[in-house]
């Protein structure tokens, strides 16, 4: 049993923390790649910016400025600063529900991001700054894993993490493999390596597929791998599991919709066929998956957070 508002906040902490981490990684990869002055480097910057939803391709010409704005712009609701600030604000609202160890990690990240010295720190070493933020976000998740009860609240938090991750990786794949924007498939070794870096997937990929950079393998790895924690399939497995746990805690078995949606989505990715995907194009499939993620989010609200009171009043 937990307050609906609290479940909502925990879920959003998960989403914002995951979003912040992904944005940090995209910025970091972009800054690192564009140390080379090559066409491929600019392509990486374009991919990164498109994947964070910035349609302005011209910004790829000045990746440092783009990364700084993406990190620290307080007026941009999509910036890393905003995500951290919102995650922390949500955490403050449920301060009684998360352990002190977990809270301290998140508060620390926020204090650094919001300090007057943040701009100086970013300018003094942007990649160190981003790298440290990612490492601290990992510490936050680790502290939560090690100190919070793995009950209902924990499941709501992770549900937020994995739904967000599925959607972020989906958006990245859409940019790289979708037919809409990119007529010619990306073949460049440098660009493909950096796409894997954006998904934090380079090292795990190499262990499976060796240093052979094939778009087909990359798609297969980031979308359909069973064990890699950032593949979309892995995310949907986790979403299904955590939903099942919440429903078990709530004693609502058989009464709600999100578990059906989650099971169907997991099966869709589990039994997907890479040859079929290649011949039909990844776009349509990605769109279906992303739509279903959004549907799970909505039905989660209907079932646990914003349910109509009339249904739940005592007789």
């Amino acid at each position: 049993m937990m307050l609906a508002r609290v479940a909502d906040s925990l879920y959003w902490i998960g989403r914002y923390v995951e979003r912040a981490e992904h944005m940090c990684r995209l910025s970091d990869v972009m800054l690192n790649a564009t140390l080379d002055r090559s066409e491929a480097a600019t392509q990486v910057a374009r991919i990164a910016l498109a994947a964070v939803g910035d349609p302005d391709a011209a910004k790829a010409g000045n990746p440092y400025e783009a990364a700084q704005a993406l990190t620290l712009d307080r007026d941009d609701a999509g910036s890393i600063y905003s995500s951290i600030a919102r995650a922390r604000e949500n955490a403050r609202q449920v301060r009684d529900q998360i352990t002190t160890e977990t809270w301290e990690r998140l508060n620390l990240i926020y204090l650094r991001m919001s300090s007057p010295d943040a701009v100086k720190a970013f300018e003094g070493g942007s990649q160190v700054f981003l790298h440290d933020t990612i490492a601290d976000l990992h510490l936050f998740k680790g502290a939560g894993d090690a100190t919070m009860s793995h009950g209902e609240g924990w499941s709501f938090l992770l549900l937020g993490v994995y739904l967000e991750r599925a959607q972020l990786i989906g958006a990245l794949l859409e940019v790289v493999f979708g037919e809409g924007r990119q007529r010619r498939p990306i073949r460049d070794h440098f660009a493909l390596t950096n796409v894997l870096r954006m998904g934090c997937a380079l090292e795990p990929y190499l262990r499976v597929y060796t240093a052979e950079m094939q778009p087909r393998y990359i798609l297969q790895f980031l979308m359909l791998d069973e064990d890699f924690p950032r593949s979309m399939r892995f995310c949907t497995q986790q979403i299904e599991q955590h939903l099942a746990a919440i429903i078990r805690h709530a004693g609502l078995a058989g009464r709600v919709g999100p578990d059906r949606l989650a099971g169907r989505l997991r099966a869709r990715l589990q039994y997907a066929d890479i040859d079929e995907l290649e011949t039909q194009g990844a776009s349509a499939f990605l769109k279906t998956v992303l739509d279903e993620c959004a549907a799970i989010h909505r039905s989660l609200y209907d079932a646990f957070v914003a349910y109509p009171l009339e249904d739940r009043l005592p007789a």
Binding site: M1, L3, R5, R92, R95, E152, F156, P314
Partner: protein
């Protein structure tokens, strides 16, 4: 934290006003260290200024990381700051504390009886001990509470009284806080911090433990519903994350292990109070509310409030939920009623007050009014209904024009004012820029009353960190420090 500080000035008054000077907590008049401060003094003498500053920094970082902050509201944006905290503990010996403890217990017992009386038979008003109109016209009097059953007559379940030590070394009550007193989380956080900063001295001194407070609070709250619900569901009701005491609300909920709810989480149906959970609605039995009376129920009190729940008060009247503290307790900490507390204690308990009041002139009495008017430049004048330093004249620091304006106001509406002499708070050693210097302090202990009355052996000591200042409010350069109540060696009772 909200706080009301009354007769405390920016500068010590002239020597004429306080011939003895403020009481020094650490040193006797001839400069020798009092015995209960000896161990701390010995430790301090071994630490360099740099080491002390280092410890101060450690403590501030601890507060910042924990998020023990309050919000300062500016013109455009609001920022979070830590409450200034001082690492040197304020120490109270066992014998002094047992007097404080007895005095506070006596006082709260009498005030609860007073509340039970005025919200039922009003015997004390019939007997003319407290003037009827003083009570019935107080803005904090709630006629909605009339003839309502309150278990154990425990109206003020959580009380935080402000004590000060006078020039003669005697503790006196400056103010009772029976509504929604705050600050207990700072008491607990200061303790956690000072254990880290002075572990050796702490162990050697024999300091009484305060960490049972959340447990005792929960027991107190549960005792308010235990008669009719075997295992009552307790919640803490907060106005929300933008309230300056939000940290404390979350802290207490977390340490008691009960939900922290906001008004929007509550639903009242058929005179029962529920909270919205992920599994549907769940019944609530006891609400420890940190929301003022006015805001708890828009149907009964202020209509524009969304901080409480519509219908909450009716559910309370119906006996289906307990609100702690009870609404209407403010009438017993009213500034004019304050002057009668020694009488109230004598009336109900047949005892003399163990802890004295500060001398108070009621301007509603013509003789006292003329005394006040003649001495406006020496006294502190306060409006009865106001708090937080508003509607107040500080005589020694006022201009002639201000005094004239107050004199007019006093003549026009005398019953709205009281006056007190200017008070010198005692001083305790504090770490100021690496050096140990005396600063003025007060003392806020916390008293719980449910089935029993329990005084936690500790307190929030508020400090005026600015040199010479007597203002301990956190909004005006005030800070806090840990308070060590020493054990008498007979083992802990609480």
């Amino acid at each position: 934290m909200e706080s009301t500080v009354s007769a405390r000035l920016d500068e010590p008054a002239s020597d004429a006003a306080s011939p003895m000077g403020p009481y020094d907590e650490m040193r006797a008049p001839l400069g020798e260290v009092r015995p209960h401060y000896a161990a701390l003094q010995a430790r301090l003498s071994t630490l360099s200024a740099a080491e002390l500053a280092d410890r101060q920094k450690t403590q501030e970082r601890f507060f910042l990381l924990q998020g023990i902050t309050f919000t300062v509201y500016g013109a455009e944006s609001s920022t979070e700051r830590i409450i200034p905290t001082d690492i040197l503990p304020r120490i109270i010996p066992a014998a002094e504390w047992s007097r404080i403890e007895a005095g506070l217990t006596q006082r709260l017992r009498a005030l609860n009886m007073f509340l039970a009386d005025i919200y039922s038979e009003q015997q004390i008003l019939m007997d003319g001990v407290v003037p009827r109109e003083l009570v019935m016209q107080a803005p904090s009097y709630r006629r909605e509470m009339q003839n309502l059953y309150v278990p154990h007559n425990a109206y003020a379940n959580v009380c935080g009284s402000d004590l000060i030590r006078q020039e003669n070394g005697e503790f006196a009550v400056l103010e009772d806080n029976l509504r929604v007193p705050s600050g207990v989380s700072y008491m607990l956080a200061n303790r956690e911090a000072s254990k880290r900063v002075f572990p050796g001295t702490f162990r050697a001194a024999g300091v009484r433990a305060i960490d049972r407070y959340p447990d005792l609070l929960l027991t107190t709250l549960k005792s308010m519903a235990a008669d009719w619900r075997p295992n009552p569901q307790v919640v803490v009701l907060t106005p929300g994350v933008y309230n300056s005491a939000y940290y404390e609300h979350a802290y207490l909920a977390r340490l008691m292990g009960v939900p922290l709810v906001e008004g929007r989480d509550l639903v009242v149906h058929d005179n029962m109070v529920y909270m919205r959970t992920t599994t549907g609605l769940r019944r609530i039995d006891v609400i420890y509310r940190r929301v003022d009376d006015d805001f708890i129920d828009p149907l009964t009190f202020r209509r524009d409030s969304s901080l409480g729940a519509a219908g909450l008060f009716n559910a309370y009247r119906a006996g289906n939920v307990v609100i702690c503290n009870a609404p209407g307790t403010g009438v017993a900490d009213d500034k004019a009623v304050y002057a009668y507390v020694p009488e109230i204690i004598r009336y109900y308990l047949g005892e003399d007050a163990i802890l004295p009041n500060i001398e108070t002139y009621l301007c509603r009495e013509p003789a006292q009014l003329s005394h006040v008017l003649a001495n406006l430049d020496k006294l502190v004048v306060k409006a009865v209904g106001a708090s937080g330093g508003y509607g107040m004249l500080v005589g020694p620091h006022s201009t002639k024009a201000q005094r004239d304006a107050f004199a007019d106001a006093l003549r026009a509406d005398p019953s709205n004012y009281i006056a007190q002499p200017t008070i010198q708070l005692s001083t305790a050693p504090c770490l100021i820029d690496g050096a140990v210097e005396p600063r003025h302090v007060d003392l806020r202990p916390f008293i719980l009353s449910g089935e029993k009355i329990v005084v936690t052996p500790g307190a929030l000591t508020r400090v005026a960190l600015k040199k010479g200042s007597l203002v301990v409010n956190s909004s005006q350069g005030g800070g806090s420090k840990d308070t060590w109540v020493l054990s008498d060696g007979k083992g802990d009772r609480s």
